[in-house]
Amino acid sequence: MEDLKLSQLTGSYPFLTPRSSSDHPAVNCPVENLLELAGALKEREGFDLLSDITCIDWFRSSPRFSAVYHFYSSIDHRYLRVVVPLQDDEHPRAPSLTGLWPAADWHEREAYDMFGVEFENHPDLRRILMWEGYDWHPLRKEFPLAGHDTELPDEEIRRESGTRVIPAPMEGGPFAASQERGIMSRSEPRGADESWNESKEKPQ
């Protein structure tokens, strides 16, 4: 269970930079070298199990998204964390690892679903936890915890058309408020508590 020597790894793959970590060895890898690195990890370094793929949203800084990969070796019993900063803040892209590990399929679909990261050459990139047609990526930091207080349709329009505004999520949105249930930021106080939001500094 000896951990991987980081210097060895950065020596063989000069594009890697070490990354601070509280446990396993971790490296930063530029997005254009990811496929090369992943192939080498699988073939030469013995990382045969792709444990996890996820993303972090560094809201209001650029590059905004980082993809985080955890590789595990079932032979040497060690982990490696690879963090890949993604270039485009609006439409982040990363190469898909499905060709190397079929396990990447669902993990990448989840990352796409939750963060909107496009994985190039993924065979079947569609939402996995939310439904097709849902317009938002819930784990992005700007996704609200409770409803935006929205204007309801005019009383007359409601009467004429029979429109009822139902507080989502089935409506597919960051949730619209309805008068019947009261204003969402009042009924869900944590949503209105700005101290919990990333848009404001947390009180120390």
Binding site: M1, R19, S20, S21, S22, D23, H24, A26, D48, L49, L50, S51, D52, T54, I56, D57, V68, H70, Y72, S74, H77, Y79, R81, W101, P102, A103, D105, W106, E110, M114, R127, I128, L129, M130, W131, E132, G133, P138, L139, F143, L145, M170, G172, R190, W196, K202
Partner: protein, 411 residues
């Protein structure tokens, strides 16, 4: 099970082109989300040629609650009840895994007694989860009476959990840096008696199933997963070991003092549904052995990390009588345990496989990003491959043998 075409429910939100591109001889069958053999709310869209499955497309997300988003907005201790609801068949093991992940981030080691209690909790949770898994798996293959045997034992376990934690299902028993409370008096003796009673019952189930002609015929050579496939698809836990890979985080990266206990790793040969059954059966016995060893060696001492003044609140009697402890309790309750900045990924060997927590902390009592790697999510991802070419009736057996739980799959 109906074999004619069933139209897909919930059309508005989950329509697909699935039926449109069927060939002339193919038939589509919607299985789930509320189907007894999908063990929760998994929906499978099957394409059938006669009785043979030519395509299987799992549809997840019916139990998605946004746990990761929730975690970003509350303190570490407040999130513990949410971990109960991941693998809700082994909530104690989830509690322990989450606490260990956060403690690793804080570079905190809990005292030996706390570790020993946690090992007991994990292994009892494993026994409970496997008992349920075996019972419903046998029921899926048509052996109804096994369910009664395993659920009787599981009921006794739940009574033990209730005595310890006050809840039968949603235990929320660990805290960051310790446990909710120490063991009640006489509880270990009851666990010992339960373990002594359990083994004959497991032997009974063993005798009912292991050489049962119908059961063996239904499970042998069905749903074969090779070792290479199992690794490539990221399978962990009993499903990986049944494919012949002796991989167990309790042995490979021992945490929580697992290296002090002696146990064997049951490993399968073929990786079929029968092997997965055998592995789980043997794991119950091994877990019972571990619990016995822990009880024998149970150390004395505190049940929480006393030196972690900014992480674990002091016991209530001191909070009520001393100023400093009152302040400490107040700070931890209002702001959460103070965890240093850093990044950590911790996987624990849970009943279903490796439950992983990736935490990025910017300091303070709230994680900046918390990712849960649910073992059932990864174990299920191999389903389209395993089901390909299987008979429709075998899909039920394969699902039962993979022993997934949708709570941690959808999170």
């Amino acid at each position: 099970m109906a074999t004619h075409q069933i139209s897909v429910g919930d059309v508005r939100s989950r329509t697909s082109d699935f039926e449109k591109d069927l060939g002339p001889e193919k038939m589509s069958l919607n299985m789930g989300p509320s189907h007894p053999s999908t063990h929760g709310v998994l929906r499978l869209r099957l394409e059938l040629d006669g009785e043979v499955v030519t395509k299987c497309d799992p549809d997840l997300g019916y139990l998605h609650r946004g746990d990761e988003k929730i975690a970003e907005n509350m303190t570490y201790n407040q999130f513990i009840p949410y971990t109960d609801r991941l693998d809700y068949l082994a909530p104690l093991a989830n509690n322990v895994a989450f606490a260990l992940a956060v403690e690793k981030l804080a570079h905190l080691e809990v005292p030996p007694r706390c570790q020993a209690i946690r090992v007991i909790l994990c292994e009892l949770a494993r026994i409970s989860a496997h008992l349920l898994g075996l019972g419903v798996y046998a029921m899926d293959t048509g052996a109804l009476s096994v369910f009664m045997y395993t659920f009787t034992e599981r009921e006794k376990l739940y009574t033990l959990f209730e005595k310890l934690t006050g809840a039968r299902l949603t235990t929320s028993f660990t805290r960051i840096g310790g446990l909710a409370r120490d063991l009640p008096e006489g509880w270990l003796g009851e666990v010992n008696r339960f373990i002594a009673n359990l083994i004959p019952q497991v032997d009974e189930v063993d005798a009912l199933l292991t050489r049962n002609r119908i059961f063996v015929d239904r499970t042998r050579e069905v749903g074969v997963i090779s070792a290479e496939d199992a690794l490539a698809y990221g399978l962990t836990g009993p499903n990986l070991r049944a494919s012949g890979v002796p991989s167990d985080l309790r042995k490979d990266r021992p945490y929580c003092g697992y290296r002090n206990y002696d146990f064997d790793l049951p490993v399968g040969e073929v990786g079929d549904c029968y092997d997965r059954y055998r592995v789980r059966m043997e794991e119950i016995r091994q877990s019972a052995g571990i619990v016995r060893q822990v009880i024998e060696k149970m150390p004395d001492g505190p049940y929480y990390a006393e030196e972690a003044k900014r992480i674990f609140p002091p016991p209530k009697d001191r909070v009520m009588t001393r100023m400093e402890e009152l302040i400490q309790n107040f700070m931890i309750t209002t702001q959460g345990p103070q965890i240093p900045p850093g990044e950590v990924y911790f996987e624990a060997e849970n009943p279903k496989g490796a439950l992983g927590f990736f935490i990025h902390s910017k300091g303070g009592g709230v994680p900046y990003r918390l990712k849960i790697r649910g073992p059932s999510f990864c174990n299920l991802s191999i389903l389209p491959k395993v089901c390909l070419g299987a008979m429709l009736s075998d899909v039920v057996v394969i699902l039962g043998s993979l022993d997934f739980v949708m709570g941690e799959c959808d999170r």
